[in-house]
């Protein structure tokens, strides 16, 4: 029995979601009284690899190879499948990120392991192995029981707190043979979203909708985001009209996020919008219409004109930040 976790990196750096996944896997290992091994694919510094021990990994299998720079789900599955066999993994944890979404279902077939994707908490029971996830786009919760011998969980980013305090992990080189024929997807271009905070990883998000009247009014939204250190998002019509880029669109048909704080400005709160943001821990709604449905899903609300409330909010946040610096 042992627990394996895929410690995903982006351009050589681990992300918060990686530390969450390692912490989650280590906690399952602790409950099962076994060890937690992390797999790292690609070039990551020795320091960072050892550092996964802090989050509870006891061993790190490090796979480095020039050809592994871009995500090739088939090849990553091969590596993780071999790693799972080599440590006798009974439980496999992966982040429910785009990378995780590409790999987890393949790996689950390869290991014939039942997969709960989008888990939001630790297993509610280890036997039978039961994990809670959202369903109906956040409108419901369901407990999923895995009956296969190997169990897999893909954990939603920002839903599990990182543990710290462990000692350095032992790093071992792991080099499964991968035939050239397994590389089937050719990466032609990577288009990075510009320097700002990535929406899917942001802890704080400032979002605005059609109530802003036009793209020329987004200055105050960006100022608020900057004062908070938040990412910016928007409603669907705003992206459809070209006021904001499509990658900011959250909701049923856009990105699903679960930040610690979601501030919705001039957004009515249609059910399709809520589907993408209802996992936010705290929701603030600023809307001039006191009947706006979003208030029903909010923790804090201001009925008021965004054009006067938001600039005041920017000043108040700046004051708070200044007082705490």
């Amino acid at each position: 029995m042992s627990v394996l976790v895929f410690a995903e990196n982006w351009e050589g750096r681990f992300k918060k979601s990686t530390y969450e996944a390692v912490s989650y896997a280590a906690e399952i290992a602790r409950q099962l009284n076994t060890s937690c091994t992390a797999v790292v694919i690609g070039a990551v510094s020795e320091e960072d690899k050892k550092g996964l021990g802090k989050y509870g990994a006891t061993k790190v299998l490090s796979v480095a190879n020039d050809k592994l720079k871009n995500l090739e789900a088939g090849v990553y599955t091969h590596i993780l499948g071999d790693a799972a066999k080599s440590v006798g993994a009974t439980h496999v944890v992966i982040s429910f990120t785009y990378t995780g979404k590409a790999i987890a279902p393949r790996l689950s077939v390869r290991l014939k392991a039942g997969l709960v994707s989008g888990a939001i908490a630790l297993p509610t029971s280890l036997s039978p192995f039961t994990v809670r996830k959202k369903c109906y786009s956040g409108k419901g919760l369901t407990d999923v029981v895995i009956s296969s011998e190997i169990k897999m969980v893909a954990i939603t980013p920002n839903s599990y707190k990182v543990n710290t305090g462990g000692a350095d992990a032992a790093v071992e080189v792991f080099s499964p043979a991968i035939p050239d024929g397994e590389f089937k997807v050719v990466s032609k271009e990577v288009k990075k979203t510009s320097g700002k905070i990535a929406l899917t990883e942001a802890e704080l998000v400032v979002s605005a909708g059609r109530g802003m009247k036009g793209p020329e009014n987004w200055g105050m939204i960006e100022q608020l985001a900057e004062a908070l250190g938040a990412a910016t998002a928007c409603s669907k019509p705003v992206a459809d009209m070209g006021w904001r880029p499509h990658h900011e669109h959250v909701g049923q048909t856009g990105i699903t996020i679960g930040p610690n704080l979601y501030i919705a400005i001039g957004i009515s709160g249609a059910i399709q919008h809520l589907a993408g943001v209802s996992s936010s821990k705290v929701i603030v709604v600023i809307n001039s219409d006191k009947e706006a449905p979003f208030f029903k899903a909010a923790d804090y609300g201001i009925v008021g004109d965004a054009f006067s409330v938001v600039p005041q909010l920017v000043e108040a946040v700046k004051k708070l930040k200044a007082a705490h610096n």
Binding site: G74, V109, C135, K139, V185, K188
Partner: protein
């Protein structure tokens, strides 16, 4: 070019979800639709077929209750349809059915949605690909095919990536790949006579089961703050909610 588009049958996006005895969705008053991402996949397959020739088959694993939506896919323009007559009990079971049909019939491109909006699994596409030992491009926002090679754009953590891959492959569609179409009168008329084949499932295991459902805990009442006292909101977020 032979396309297979997998469609799942899901509650309309505006459905108010209720569960019967926490054992499953209470279907009373629920309108079922083609999963929105699957419609995006279907439309892109049709666009490519119209430009380059070929056929588009839609496939659903599930009971006869989904037939109106299968007919809708035919009305939008698919050439024929297959329904595997079995409860879609888990993603692995569904993927085994789809892979079996795909192996028998030999498609060039197998498309699914990015995720189904009922179970939100994002599992079926990758599972089909692994079962067939072919590549899968997940969460694809663009798809173009020239000859035996396809170029896709997909979402990755931190941006987007353009990739190329040889046929056959699986891809899961994300918004951006196409704009769904509304069936026209002619489509609706011809859909009635298009072939809809019902086949029995192959044996496959279910390795997961949703055993209980519940609604998310109700939100506490929203705390209202006066627009004349905006700094109070910042205080509350800092001291009470502790998120800033």
């Amino acid at each position: 070019m032979k396309f297979l588009v997998c469609i799942s049958n899901v509650p309309d996006t505006t459905t108010k979800i209720a569960f019967s005895d926490n054992k499953g969705l209470n279907p009373a008053g629920v309108q079922f639709i083609i999963n929105p991402y699957d419609e995006i996949a279907l439309t892109r397959a049709l666009e490519i077929k119209e430009a380059a020739g070929g056929t588009v088959t839609v496939l659903h694993v599930g009971g006869a209750g989904a037939e109106p939506n299968i007919r809708k896919a035919l009305a939008i323009g698919a050439d024929d349809a297959i329904r595997v007559n079995a409860e879609p009990t888990d993603a692995y079971f569904v993927a085994c059915q789809i892979a079996d049909i795909a192996k028998k019939n030999g498609y060039d491109v197998i498309l699914t949605g990015r995720e189904s909006i009922d179970y939100n699994g994002a599992q079926v596409a990758g599972m089909i690909a692994e079962l067939m030992n072919i590549p899968c491009i997940s969460v694809a926002t663009k798809l173009d095919i020239a000859g035996t090679e396809a170029v896709l754009e997909r979402e990755i953590d931190g941006g987007k990536e353009v990739v190329s891959v040889a046929l056959p492959f699986v891809a899961s569609a994300q918004k951006g790949m196409s704009e769904p179409r509304i069936p026209n009168m002619r489509g609706i008329m011809t859909a009635r006579t298009k072939p809809l084949q019902v086949v029995e499932p192959v044996a496959a295991d279910c390795i997961t089961a949703s055993t209980a459902y519940e609604l998310p805990p109700a939100k506490q009442a929203c705390k209202m703050i006066s627009p004349d006292n905006v700094s109070e909101l910042v205080d509350l977020l800092h001291n009470e909610a502790k998120v800033i």
